[in-house]
């Protein structure tokens, strides 16, 4: 195999695929990227057995063939080569190593046989639809912070995406929860997605999809089957296994009847939370909200590092009440609020609180209070 590719194209392709490759691998071939040269294209493939990213890019192919080489090393080299360099990758039949040359630089990298490279079995992905890249990115951003990292309930280790009904309007809904907070966001149902099954996209895939969406400008192609999801971003294609489990009935968790309403300006609120949380205990990060007519007082009381409080004006006219939250959770939610105001709907200090965004009716959040 011999191909020559422009450094920028190589860097972009490797940048997209190498993120899948785990830093530590017990199976050596999984540290490698598969490079295939044919026609006037180079195809780069990386996998961790649960997820695969393939990216094709234009290249001058002198001799068709395949090779696998260490993904992170190759990426680091490409990163350090001078801009505009032409990079030649060559695998000669008499040398077990792949050579890389660019200008006066020359590298020999250990290669492993391409026949050992695990290929994700291709299967029919029944449902395919087009969705605007920015809308998909929004769904992910508004929910992924709530994805659980606890392995016991593995079905919470991803974003639950499914077709739902909002006021008789079909929507594509994303939900994530770790049992302490829940985030939900919706977008208009893309045409062709109606028959999509309810799925759970694992956290690692979510993060990679989000990264690739960064470089995608208009529509992305989404294909879904029982066990897999595929995102087509033009040159790059990501295929991931789905979490095999059923997401809990989250609807009953969202409190709809909470009657104590508080509206507070987003930016001053987020800054105040951040300020007083400075002295909250590192791990519990408990912060108390005390609401009374027209105001809310944020307090942190830490026996070791002291006490902090800040007063904010707020639109509140119900009975006085106190409620505790994890400061981190408040900040995570505040960061996703796009409108000017955060709207809290309380019931009492021990029951879940619903939070909405004054500027986005298609997203909502639920927070479990802490004892204070």
């Amino acid at each position: 195999m011999k191909l020559t590719i422009e450094r920028a194209a190589l860097l972009k392709a490797l940048g997209h695929v190498q993120a899948v490759v785990e830093r530590r691998n017990t199976i050596p071939i999984l540290s490698n990227v598969l490079i295939e040269a044919s026609g006037d294209q180079a195809r780069f493939t990386a996998t961790d057995l649960d997820m695969e990213i393939v990216e094709a890019t234009g290249a001058r192919v002198d001799r068709e063939g395949m090779v696998t080489a260490p993904a992170h090393t190759l990426y680091e080299i490409a990163r350090k080569l001078p801009d505009g360099a032409d990079v030649t990758l060559e695998m000669a039949s008499d040398d077990p190593r792949m050579s890389l040359s660019a200008g006066r630089s020359r590298f020999n990298l250990p290669a492993l046989p391409p026949s050992d490279f695990p290929v994700m079995p291709s299967e029919d992905l029944a449902v395919t639809f087009q969705a605007p890249a920015d809308q998909m990115a929004r769904l992910i951003d508004k929910t992924r912070f709530a994805v659980s990292t606890e392995e016991t309930r593995y079905y919470l280790n991803g974003i639950h995406i499914h077709v739902a009904d909002r006021d008789r309007r079909p929507v594509l809904r994303a939900v994530a929860t770790d049992g302490h907070r829940l985030a939900l966001a919706e977008m208009q149902l893309p045409s062709g997605a109606e028959a999509m099954a309810a799925i759970i996209v694992p956290r690692k895939a979510v993060n990679e999809i989000r990264r690739l969406l960064e470089d995608a400008n208009d529509d992305v192609t989404v294909s879904v089957s029982e066990g897999k999801i595929r995102f087509g971003f033009g040159a790059a294609v990501l295929t991931s296994k789905l979490i095999d489990g059923s997401f809990p009935d989250y609807e009953r968790v969202i409190p709809r009847g909470n009657d104590k309403l508080m509206r507070v300006d987003r930016a001053p609120f987020a800054q105040a939370v951040d300020r007083v949380a400075t002295i909250s205990q590192e791990k519990s990060r408990s912060i108390k909200l005390s609401m009374s007519q027209g105001q809310v007082v944020l307090t942190v009381n830490n026996p070791e590092s002291g006490q902090a409080s800040e007063e904010l004006s707020a639109d509140y006219s119900s009975d006085e009440m106190h409620i505790g939250f994890n400061a981190r959770y408040l900040l995570d939610v505040a960061a996703q609020i796009g409108g000017d105001e955060v709207v809290f709907e309380f019931n009492d200090s021990a029951s879940p609180t619903r939070v909405t965004d004054s500027g986005d009716p298609d997203a909502e959040y639920v927070l479990m209070p802490l004892r204070v």
């Binding site: 606890e150 309930r153 770790d178 302490h180 907070r181 590192e282 519990s284 408990s286």
Partner: protein, 430 residues
Amino acid sequence: MNEPLINYCRACHTRFNGVHEYCPACGDHALLSHPQIDQLSIAHIDCDAFFASVEKRDNPELDDKPVIIGGGQRGVVSTACYIARLYGVRSAMPMFKALELCPDAVVISPKGGRYGVVGRQIRDMMFDTTPLVEPLSIDEAFLDLTGTQRLHKCAPVLTLLKLQQHIYDEVGVTVSVGLSHNKFLAKTASELDKPNGFSIIPPRDTLDILAPMSVRAVYGVGPAFAKKLEDQGLRTLKDVRKLSDKDLAHRYGEAGLRLARLSRGEDSRKVKLERVRKSVSGETTFHRDICDLETLKSKLWDQCVRVADEMKTKGVAGHVVTLKLKTADFKSLTRRRTLNAPAQLADTLYKTACPLLEAEPKGRYYRLIGVGYSDLVAAQGDVGDLLDPNALKRAAIERASDVARAKFGKDIIQKGLSFKSQAPKKKTEP
């Protein structure tokens, strides 16, 4: 070598210089003598046959009888008094074997709480001597007496002689003291002359004293490692010293390098105060190996309650749950789970650990189960779970039953789950 020889009489604590065969003050022969003796300040104090000594102290009739502390259905010797040791009885020996060697022995089952009280009494006396006490267990500790000379107006060696006497007078048990210039040597010294011993290892004599010692005597060299060393002809520390550090590190890794240093008596560990608790855990060894999942679960529940009780007393909550199992053939397994939020309840602990237990292959026999919380924070934890609306209710029930247990005794309220472990189902061995 023309420094004057310094002597301390172990009987009357008199200090005198020069070469003497017996104490010029009281005529006793037990002398501690070395030119460098006043410079030693790291000590290891170990109670002699502690549990047995406490029993003998409380019951003078046992004084001249061989006493073995231990029992239970697993039947191993926990402590043997020095008379029983004459018959060859050792701790961790199966009870039937101990009784074969010493049929006249008085066997007493251990009284945990009683020994704890006596152990703390001794520890308090150590703390009166120096603030730097590092307890290793209920009956042994390291003491750093560096800089206490001004306070006690005498060298550490004399302070320790007085402490040894004081412990005997006040508590009625004997201790053995090792005094040297680092922890490893202090511990080694305390082993040299037991019971009621006092040994010193001064820097100048370190290499000679260590040379003939077996590698097995080194703390941290277990039977497996010792076997490996001996197979390669490394029986004593002198043998070990013949190899270079590099060689030993190459052969045995980190453990080899450590052994190389210790073979020359080098140990840079400091005497540290008791460290902050990083975890709370409980474990139990079964009377007979258990395979039945339901029985294991009820044993697990009992330990969860124990751990949760301690967590609540200390007012801490933990982020990580660890399940520990030991199989019938002594393999240890641990399984960990990180929680999304800290917890302290028995309910949460059990609900997290139980799936870990269930995930283990069926049909295996276990001899031990343990469970614990770690990564602790000062908090109550258990903030409830959106997806498990009953979690808060169960938490309230657990806290309410805690109140009742505090008032009427720990066994007043128990879950049905516990009863299984009290009457284990008869299982036929495979």
